[in-house]
Symmetry: C2
Subunit: 408 residues, 2 copies
């Protein structure tokens, strides 16, 4: 967490129902063998909402339903989520099933159908066991306490090994505003958006359009800057609900606290993105790449993402091999504008390349550094003022094991 | 091998010195611990030559030297190659070393320095042991027999498990023209050009510019359509030498046998590309993806390459999992123009997706199919007449093992 705004505070008992007026629940409905697999997130009142979605041309049914509903209303009051089955590539029946999920959740809450978002994650191409889900929805009892949030965050997981939650408070117009987030994602992660679900709640008052522009700008620098395996999924989305119950004046771009709100939203999304990268399938280490001196921020992020996405960099980090040549090669094929003779590379605090040429360093010290759970790689192109971050993880035997036998 | 030209014949004792007037040699000079690591390929007379090179902005010293020399002369009479050290990211000393390799090989043969191509492959960022190479060059004795070619093809390998050779003969102007090729490449393979070296010899008479245009068109459909790990290297190139000793009239685009020559060149490069993919680091299977019905051939190739490059498809093939959802997801994020509801997918001869929807199939039969060493995936978009092929390999524990400990 790095921020220039002292009023931003991390909430320790962070949970998705932290903001005023939110509740959540999660249960086992029978899609998975034993683990919980159905969850609901509810706002007491209709919340202004925004979403960003996978860029994959093949998009799952729940995503189509959610996009359509949000386009109609600009609002959302609940989100129903299942794990264990992605309801993707399931044709017309898949679309019907997603609408059935939406309708059942809405009817249970006594709200309009198009105020409910629908999300699914899991195996692609199998029909949803819709009867189990309908039966499960009748048993969901959302609560505002910690248990409901924990159940929610656990019920949305697939190959994730840990649930991912974060929350911050910030002062806006003298009112305490809370922003909380939870996410899932472990494989098929190369968002744009991709293979992940992210849910953000806030009690801030903010219009849907402004919420969307804030979310979009933040997602590029967070969720879209992580990669696990370069595969962009069919299902993934980040949804944010702002129910306005904090009592601040409605946030607009020229509101004096607009920037601090966006910064807080950024911290929530950055936390979740890093948690996803760190929990990448089979991963043992988080890799953070910071690029400076690029000709633009977007090129810097592109380079950073290429480095953390390189299978050869990922395996080298797994093997504690300070193989900087692979980092330099990845920078070179990233597509960015650069002069190879000006590049500087650091692994941790050790400079390994300066002005494009190798620098002597202690291999033993770097091996020790590479045994840490969080590895930082810094690249300076010395071309301009562009900077950016990206996060990924190492590539391990377990990634292969998990994905060679995912369905079987 | 599929061709419409009956005069094209595969040569069984295929070797890089098959065409008239070529000789080769390979020895151990001490860069590697035990395996051979220095090789030379020679034409009796200066040959018209062409090259294609990595698109990586970071390019190795030998590549810069070769490009420069070829630009000066349009010809090449010999190529000196070392393995075990890429001479990449080695600064000014690296450039000096590459020139020293070139000069020593040229002086030994008594030819102009800029008639010698230089290639290196191996670890990035370490200085060449130039004394060992200079000493080794003095011991190279190229011969036109099979042994010289075998030694050459083995001396250029790094993590490859097999050497890669192919040769075809074809009749042009009533003369037998031979085209032969040898290549190396196993990891850091995502050419454009990338992480591989390919050498093609022919006794055809053809000008340098026409040779370059033939090579470029062929490379896009062969070497540039394979991927092992998505990493585009700093060193890779394909060089072709045409010494004209076959006695045909000089080939030009309107020569009646131009097409058959290009087709033969294509077969040589396709054979080598497939051998590289099949021998990908840690690979147990070759994956071929054929895309039809795309809006253009280039989009078809892009989709095919995205599918064979998907880590999730690769691990599924390794695990004999008929996980067609991952194929569909990869098609979806390839960036190509398509309608998800029209896609048809076959694994082997089994249709698994039709008009974008799953089709019932025997999982057991597909598991048996997926145990074969060569897996074919067919995708039909039903959008246009574009078609293309790409080749890759499965992602295995051994890939991780090899790359987690490459330098150590």
């Amino acid at each position: 967490m790095t921020t220039l705004y002292p009023s931003i505070k991390r909430i320790s008992g962070n949970n998705i129902a932290s903001p005023i007026g939110f509740s959540a629940a999660g249960i086992h409905c029978g899609i998975k063998h034993k683990k919980s697999d159905l969850a609901i997130l509810v706002s007491d009142v209709p919340a202004n909402a925004a979403g960003v979605y996978t860029t994959n041309v093949v998009q799952a049914a729940p995503l189509l339903v959610t996009k359509q509903s949000l386009a109609e209303t600009g609002k959302m009051q609940a989100i129903i989520v299942n794990s264990g089955n992605a309801n993707a590539c399931t044709g017309k029946k898949g679309l019907e099933d997603a609408k059935t999920m939406q309708a059942n959740a809405a009817d249970k809450l006594g709200i309009a159908h198009n105020l409910v978002g629908v999300a699914s994650t899991g195996v692609i191409g199998e029909k949803l066991p819709i009867d189990k889900i309908v039966n499960g929805i009748s048993k969901l009892e959302p609560t505002s306490g910690l248990k409901g949030s924990i159940d929610f965050s656990q019920s949305i997981l697939t190959t994730d090994t840990v649930s991912k939650n974060t929350a911050y408070s910030v002062t806006i117009d003298g009112q305490t505003v809370t922003i909380a987030g939870t996410a899932k994602g472990s494989g098929m992660i190369h968002p744009n958006m991709a293979t992940m679900l992210g849910f953000v709640t806030t009690d801030a008052a903010i219009g849907s359009d402004d919420l969307h522009s804030a979310l979009s700008s933040v997602v590029d620098r967070t969720f879209n800057s992580i990669t696990v395996d370069g595969d962009t999924s069919t299902n993934d989305m980040v949804l944010v609900m702002a129910n306005g119950l904090a009592g601040n004046n409605t946030l607009v771009p020229n509101h004096p606290d607009w920037d601090v709100f966006v910064q807080t939203l950024l911290l929530v999304c950055e936390d979740l993105g890093k948690m996803i990268a760190k929990d990448g399938e089979g991963a043992t280490k988080l890799i953070e790449t910071e690029v400076t001196g690029a000709i633009s921020d977007s090129e810097a992020r592109m380079i950073a993402k290429t480095v953390v996405g390189s299978p050869l960099v990922k395996t080298a980090v797994f093997g504690c091999d300070a193989n900087w040549g692979r980092i330099l090669a990845a920078v070179g094929y990233s597509g960015a504008t650069l002069d190879p003779d000006k590049i500087k590379i650091q692994i941790g605090t050790t400079t390994v390349v300066s002005d494009g040429e190798p620098v002597d360093f202690s291999e033993d010290e770097l091996i020790e550094y590479l045994k840490q759970p969080e590895i930082k790689i810094k690249v300076n192109l010395q071309e301009g003022a562009g900077k950016g971050l990206a996060w990924g993880c190492d590539l391990t035997y377990d990634y292969v094991q998990i994905n060679a036998s995912y369905r079987t």
